[in-house]
């Protein structure tokens, strides 16, 4: 990408600044839309793959009782389809969990100042969400 821009600037930049600007923008937009459609097509494949290979929880299968992590995969698939509200209803702790994972990797690489403390608070939030969801689903 950068090479093309350099080349364009070498070729046109001295003559006309505006035309290089427009060229850059159009190139960016067309490439972006191409990647976006490609992403949607790929995403369909990925979602069908996940749906076909769901792992069933052994405790649910053998005993009929749901465990603390049940609903996570279904919720993840709903989230990938873009159905955020349904995903939250299915398993409310999923989005904080994902955010915590991202924050954890960021913290390990860049060593945030208060990273460990924030992670702790996130963890408490997740625990409360998971346990409350489990109790509501199971006993109420």
């Amino acid at each position: 990408m950068m090479v093309i821009w350099k080349w364009l600037e070498n070729r046109w930049g001295n003559i006309n600044k505006i035309s290089t600007f427009i060229l850059k923008k159009t190139a960016f937009v067309s490439l972006g839309s191409f990647f976006y459609f490609n992403y949607i097509l790929k995403m369909n494949d990925i979602i069908t793959f996940f749906e076909s290979s769901l792992l069933t929880c052994p405790s649910k299968k053998l005993m009929g009782i749901e465990c603390l992590g049940c609903g996570l995969q279904r919720s993840f698939i709903l989230l990938m389809k873009g159905n955020i509200l349904e995903s939250i209803k299915m398993y409310p702790a999923l989005i904080p969990l994902l955010f915590m994972m991202v924050y954890l990797t960021g913290h390990l690489y860049f060593n945030f100042k208060n990273g460990a403390r924030f992670l702790k608070y996130f963890y408490f939030l997740n625990i409360i969400l998971i346990v409350a969801n489990y109790i509501i689903k199971q006993f109420l």
């Binding site: 929880c57 405790s59 465990c67 603390l68 992590g69 994972m101 954890l104 702790k120 963890y123 997740n126």
Partner: protein, 106 residues
């Protein structure tokens, strides 16, 4: 003298968090992660208390330890409750209870 990070401090944090994510499968996965994190954290704290000026990154170890303890408690509670259910009413009684519950929903 340059400070060096405590050994396994990142690993402790990661395992502490994974102990709650892996709470599926009878809570066994969570138990394993939590116990590994706790053992590593014990070693790291021993190192740190010996010479606090040599190492940094103790915050990670401390948080990881707390997270692992919580994960351990949660998984242990789940496992213990399962054991109690099986010990008191047995498998057949349990299946009957589940069937009754399913009947209520349908």
């Amino acid at each position: 003298m340059e400070k060096q990070t405590l050994p396994n401090s990142t690993l402790i944090l990661v395992f502490g968090i994974l102990s709650i994510v892996g709470c599926c499968c009878y809570g066994i996965l969570g138990l394993i992660f939590a116990i590994v994190a706790l053992v590593l954290a014990k070693k790291a704290t021993a190192l740190y208390t010996e010479s606090p000026e040599l190492y940094e990154g103790y915050n990670n170890v401390k948080t990881g330890k707390i997270l692992a303890i919580i994960g351990l408690i949660l998984s242990a509670l789940y496992v213990i409750s399962l054991i109690i259910i099986f010990a008191t009413i047995g498998y057949d009684g349990y299946m009957e209870m589940v069937r009754e519950q399913m009947g209520q929903y349908q």
